[in-house]
Amino acid sequence: MGGIERIESADVRLVAGTKGLNKRKLIWAGLGVLAVVFFGTLPFYYDVHNGQYGVFFFNVFVYAIVAQGWNLIGGYTGQISLGQNAFFGIGAYTMALLWFNDVTKTGYYFDPVLMIASAVAPAIVAVLVGLPLLSRLRGDYFAFGTLGMGMIVTVLFINGGYFTGGAEGRMLVSKMPPDVVFNLRTHYWVAFLVAVLVTLVVYFLTSSRVGLALKAIREDEVAAASHGVNVLKYKVIAFAVGASTAGVAGSIYGYYLLQVTPSNVLTQNWLFYPILMVVLGGTGTILGPWVGAFLIYLLSWYGDQYFTGYSPILSGVVIILVMLFLPSGIMGLGQKVPDWGKRVRGSG
């Protein structure tokens, strides 16, 4: 292909892309930019360290990261993984053990090398576990397989002796550089940045040929395979990317709590809450995990304050209502309202 042909080809793609940017997408993109600007600059006009909304949004971001990862596996690929807590824990432990043993010798507090390692380690485990599980198991059986993997990982860390710190895990307070004072603002920004990055990764992944393959697998594996989609390859890719996002979230939470133990980072809270968030927000949508994380944590936060001891009931009632009347999640509402509007206009 010559140079001109390449330019013409690029122009065609550009025109096609511009046509794709319809009004609705532009509105969403605008809202997204506004949200990023708002949350990104919040620490400049609000004391996120001492104010309650700082830690509130920090937790929302961490949950949104895990939920976005599960969304890629469960929502876009249709594979129900019940092992996200294991990947969260592996990520947290990777950061903690490398930091505790001063492997990188950087002395940094938020060491980017450790955070990248926290994403890579769970991805490797996901590939090793995913190849046999995803090639042989489907549906409920795959879900049980990942659940079993989570249990195995938990027991291994509990009984890991000196290497993992055993049941007591690793205390990281003593590893804080002496000149660093804990300030939640740093954690807020890191969690927010990673949450945005993960969202962009999932967006571009699902908008690409890979995403097309994932959606095809979700709809009908056999049909996808018959059209030349390498089903196992794409399922493993989704599983590994979902695992690495959970791992990064684990390292961020570990940096926040400065105490990584099996009961903190391998608890099934990091499995069930993110799934609920995705389902509530809308499976297979980019903003669903964000909306779900915000709503579930909002219910938990204020439910605990105003209905102390009964907040799980409040969360349960809302989840039941949404599942009954909004089976596509909150994001499904956006698609339903125009339909309703058309019907009203039509009847008028």
């Binding site: 019940l82 409920d140 049941a167 009961s263 389902v279 909002l298 105003y306």
Partner: protein, 467 residues
């Protein structure tokens, strides 16, 4: 596994529904959406409008508790009343630890009702101040314990907080308290320090906390209680070969490792160390191992439901060690109710007894029985004493400044509590002795150890075929 299977299917169904949508239910969809939006708006409005308010709990009502002082300008003694002192309290209001959480909550509310009935706490301003508690639910999870501490500090503005009663939860919450210089008054969490070589990180004592204190026992020494109970057996019946059996959880393995080491350090032979999955329904292979190893004494950390299963299978296999001692799961009233006479001669740990010769112990025990259909508790005195100590520390500090209150507890002595005289060291740790109990026929709790508080001698576990 049934719950997991159910969840898996429900998750799968959710995803399927989400993909397909419910086209048929547009009207219901709109009603549902409206309800959700209304609920969220209500929650948000309530949240926004209540930033400066504080939710308080009603003081406990009990038969022998005087009604708490009402918010008036003066007390009956004529002292001027100041604003209420609001103290945070993290508690397992939901989740697997809720039974213990309820006992702790009862004791804390009783302590508050009693101090308020006496006119409250006098501060440096010369005024008397009533105490109110603001509870936060840890949901029996460490991550939720940390979140509960965040909420109390940031949403409620509280910087003096009473603890929950599980070590991992309190460790997580303590990390948060440390960051915001809030004083965390811990009880019921292992006090162990780190080992010199760093191989064992310790529990609360190993965290080098500047803003938390802890009144409890070390996990390493907790095994001594079981040994103390064994030593109280008739020498002719004394066991020789121990087994340690524990659930394969962080708490369980921490306990199991420490207990095994403690028993061996005392010169006892530990022939078997078994870990099992929480919720285990089949202990037959473990029992068989114990038989083969000629084990005649078992020390275990086990949940009540697992403990009931274990004892029933011991009976089915007609295996009777001379001594069976259980932590965590053998002391609840429900354990005795489920097993009936089969629970007789089983020993267990506890923190307190109404038979202890300490001020107000008998009255507190009676109040608990009055409120709980005659059931007794072997823990409420500990939680009550923790609240007593905190109130005293606040009064001594003359203010509710968390640093000033903390400084009163570090190196502080607190005589006359329901746990006796309590002294904290310079690390903010107060070690208290555990008690060993045994179920006697009829469901009576007999104190075996420490010897000076014993209300009876340990009775050898009567073999099943001789009952």
């Amino acid at each position: 596994m049934n719950e997991v299977g159910f969840f898996t299917r429900v998750s799968a169904s959710f995803v399927t529904f989400s993909r397909r949508g419910f086209v048929k239910h547009k009207r219901l969809l709109l009603i549902g959406a409206a309800l959700v939006v209304l609920a969220l708006v209500a929650v948000s409005l309530a949240a926004c409008g209540s930033d400066d308010t504080t939710t308080t709990t009603a003081p406990a009502e009990s038969s022998d508790t005087t009604a708490p002082a009402e918010s008036s300008d003066t007390t009956t003694a004529g002292a001027e009343m100041g604003d209420d002192i609001v103290i945070g309290a993290i508690n397992s209001l939901t989740g697997s630890n809720v039974l213990t959480g309820q006992e702790e909550k009862w004791a804390q509310e009783k302590a508050v009702a009693d101090i308020n009935a006496k006119g409250g706490i006098k501060l440096a301003d010369g005024k008397q101040h009533n105490v109110v508690l603001k509870f936060a639910d840890d949901k029996s999870q460490p991550t939720e314990g940390a979140a509960a501490m965040e909420k109390l500090i940031k949403a409620d503005g509280l910087k003096i907080v009473l603890s929950s009663n599980i070590t991992p939860v309190n460790q997580a919450a303590a990390q948060v308290a440390e960051k915001y210089q809030a004083y965390f008054h811990i009880t019921s969490s292992w006090t162990d320090e780190a080992s010199p070589d760093g191989s064992f990180p310790g529990f609360i004592g190993g965290m080098d906390l500047k803003w938390a204190t802890d009144m409890f026992e070390s996990a390493g020494d907790s095994g001594l209680v079981a040994i103390g109970g064994a030593k109280a057996l008739d020498p002719a019946d004394a066991p020789t070969t121990f087994a340690v059996m524990t659930e394969n959880t962080p708490d369980g393995v921490g306990f199991g490792d420490a207990t095994k080491a403690g028993l061996e350090a005392q010169g006892w032979k530990v022939a078997s160390y078994e870990k099992f999955v929480e919720g285990n329904k089949d202990f037959s292979s473990i029992i068989l191992k114990f038989k083969q190893a000629n084990v005649d004494a078992v020390v275990t950390l086990i949940a009540p439901s697992d403990g009931i299963t274990f004892v029933k299978q011991m009976k089915e296999q007609n295996w009777s060690p001379k001594y069976l001692f259980g932590y965590k799961g053998f002391w609840p009233v429900d354990f005795y109710a489920a097993l009936g006479d089969d629970a007789n001669y089983i020993s267990y740990d506890g923190f307190w007894s109404e038979t202890l010769p300490f001020p107000y112990a008998k009255e507190l025990g009676q109040a608990f029985q009055d409120d709980h259909d005659g059931n007794t508790s072997n823990s409420v005195g500990l939680y009550y004493a923790a609240a007593q100590i905190l109130f005293t520390a606040i009064e001594r500090a003359g203010s509710t400044d968390p640093g000033a209150v903390r400084d009163q507890v570090f190196n502080g002595s607190f005589p006359g509590t329901t746990m006796g005289d309590i002294t904290y060291n310079d690390q903010g740790i107060a070690d208290i002795p555990f008690l060993a109990f045994q179920w006697a026929p009829g469901g009576e709790r007999v104190v075996l150890y420490p010897t000076e508080f014993a209300t009876g001698k340990t009775v050898t576990f009567v073999p099943w075929d001789q009952r």
